[in-house]
Amino acid sequence: MNRKIKEPVSFLLPLIFFIAAFLLFPVLGTFWNSLWHDVPFMARRFVAFDNYVGLIKDGQFWQTSFFTIVFACVSVSLEMAFGMITALVLNEKSRLRGALRGIALIPWAIPSVIGARIWQLIFRYDYGVANITLKAIGIGPVNWLGTSVGAFAALVLADVWRTTPFVAIILLAGLQTVPDDILKQAQIDGANIFQRFYRITLPMMKPIIMVAILFRTIDAMRVFDLIYVITGGGPGGTTASLSVYGYKFFLTGDFGYGSAVSVILFIIALTMAVVYIKLGKLRSQ
């Protein structure tokens, strides 16, 4: 092999190694595991796609899938709306811009488990801030996490709080690519601030908005830490996401079934990633 080929290959080798070791191998391993009936206290048995057939018949699986999709839709729409508002504010030229940008990022900088724990404490029945505030106004304590609607709202709130800054930063980058002269020109032509936003800023930002939506949707579909800490999937399993559902099987030791849930989740995320890449290509053309 001559030097011309050898050198680039040697540069690529570590990358290939890391992708294989940390991405390819675990994914294929999980898929392989999902084809087995693997429960402690029993012999391991190859069952092909039996675990997947079990999933299709599993009402709990459909319920958690439905919950995950609803959670992703609601929280991502709210995050996009608030993220856009935050980005527009941060894009305004003001003396406080630097400080505001820093402050806006704080929720994103807090480790998600700690953020989730904070929200769990806020919604606690006996000494949570939410109930203490209500009591001050004279309304009786509410068991926030005790109803499926209340628990769902608490989870969405925590997720929106945490990831709005992330969306805002992506959108801010997009906002800065909108050329000032076009906006100025429109202003001279008599377009008001809303017209300028809807007719110029928004269309020009479309690709980056798509990126933000896809990033966030993939992330929201895999939500685990937030739910694990705040509700643990309760009350009565009504707020369990697919990840929480799959984790349960690893905990109780049904590795094949848990792997099958993981594989399904992976396929969903992969499909979304492929869509994202396709959209990225459209953009560059």
Binding site: D126, G237, L251
Partner: protein
């Protein structure tokens, strides 16, 4: 050239790290976990054993968390490792381990008379340690659900400790109504209803004390029965109808939450494990000296019931030191060692004869109630799939408590899901 040699050296060192072989130990390996003071005390016991028998014992320190302790034993046993030779098991693992054929039968120790089964609680040995008519483990530490109550408050209102659930509800009602005037946080009865293993224990007690239960005579799991539905209704009503249990019972209440509510003077009755006794009576507790314990109430024509917990000792089938392990097992279960564990760690002895010991009784005045409770102990199923069954029970019972499903719906669903799982695993 130099760099490749360096690489070779690093690889060699790394492979030593990963594949470096552990020298085979001729000693006994004893796996035990728990709080740090407990593990330290075990170290002392082990050294006493070595002094008297000249058998070397390596103490394999395990974490505090029960699930991690289980994992730490399942991995070596599954791969048929010779170590650990002997270990402590939570009551619910004994059936799983015995079903997997990982435990050495202990029938020979009993047959030779080295261990006398009469020294132990019959109901516990039968429900936990016996699998297919063979003995696989013995109790080192017994645990069961108790009812704690405030003697001062019952006295204040001229009430007697409750024997039935009806009496508990009535007296809690009276005390709660009056105490609320000065303490708006006061509740009549706190117990564990959050979605976790503790809920299954609480449910078992409510069920068994109302003639229900989840194990049928053939050892199968039967959840959907009229008695169990009544028990689930009772649990639901304590929160939503009688309102003597706090609304966050089914979202937040685990052992520590109930203990703190009781210790802060915010409850009349508390269902908890024996560990709470010492803490309730510790310096700084607001209820110090005002607490007493009793059997958990029973239904109208039911029996008292207490969910069984605790740690049992067993020997690995793959152990290479079985004779030494038997000697150690006898040492741990001896009157002297059990007494030391009770006096120094506050462990409720596995041996029943220690409940009559004057020194132990002085230190643990609630032993009489405990001993009585052990006679009413209800074990959780010893199925190898208990962990999965428990998950299903937790979720559906919690749904019934929250009012999201009726008790009937929730238990019917639990039964269906348990049948499905057992079918999938047994096919």
């Amino acid at each position: 050239m130099l760099s490749s040699r360096r690489l070779l050296i690093s690889i060699t060192i790394f492979s030593f790290l990963f594949f470096g072989c552990k020298p085979r130990t001729p000693q006994l390996t004893f796996a035990v976990g728990g709080a740090s003071n407990e593990v330290e005390y075990w170290e002392k016991i082990v050294s006493e054993f070595t002094d008297s028998t000249r058998i070397d014992v390596v103490l394999l320190r395990q974490p505090t968390d029960t699930d991690q302790r289980r994992q730490g034993l399942v991995i070596p046993l599954r791969s048929r490792q010779q170590d650990p030779d002997i270990f402590l098991m939570d009551v619910i693992w004994v059936g799983q381990f015995a079903a997997s054929d990982w435990l050495e039968p202990l029938d020979s120790v009993v047959a030779t008379g080295d261990v006398n089964l009469a020294d132990f609680f019959e109901s516990i040995v039968n429900q936990v340690d016996t699998y297919h008519d063979s003995l696989y483990a013995l109790p080192v530490y017994n645990d069961c659900g108790l009812l704690y109550f405030r003697k001062d408050l019952l006295e204040k209102y001229g009430l007697k400790p409750p024997v039935t659930w009806q009496q508990l509800i009535r007296s809690a009602d009276i005390v709660q109504e009056n105490e609320r005037i000065t303490n708006p946080h006061f509740f009549g009865f706190v117990w564990q209803g959050a979605q976790y293993e503790g809920l299954v224990c609480n449910f078992l007690e409510f069920a068994a004390s109302n003639n229900g239960g989840i194990i049928d005579s053939a050892g199968g799991i039967i959840v959907y029965t009229p008695e169990n539905i009544r028990a689930a209704d009772l649990m639901h009503d304590l929160i939503h109808k009688h309102k003597i249990s706090p609304p966050n019972t089914y979202t937040e209440m685990k052992e520590e939450e109930t203990r703190l509510a009781f210790e802060n003077g915010n409850a009349l009755y508390e269902r908890n494990w024996p560990y709470a006794w010492a803490l309730h009576n510790k310096e700084g507790s607001r209820v110090k000296g005002k607490v007493a314990a009793a059997l958990l109430p029973r239904g109208h024509n039911g029996q008292h019931a207490a969910a069984l917990g605790g740690w049992h000792i067993g020997i690995s089938k793959f152990s290479d030191n079985k004779t030494e392990a038997m000697t150690f097992l006898k040492f741990v279960l001896s009157y002297a060692t059990q007494k030391k564990l009770a006096l120094n760690l506050g462990w409720n002895p596995g041996r029943s004869d220690l409940y009559e010991d004057a020194d132990v009784r002085r230190k643990m005045p609630h032993l009489d109630v405990l001993k009585n409770s052990f006679d009413h102990a209800v074990a959780r199923p010893t199925s190898p799939y208990y962990t999965q069954i428990s998950e299903i029970l937790q979720q559906n019972q919690n749904a019934a408590l929250s009012g999201k499903s009726s008790s009937d719906e929730a238990l019917a669903r639990a039964q269906r899901e348990i049948n499905e799982i057992l079918q999938r695993y047994n096919e």
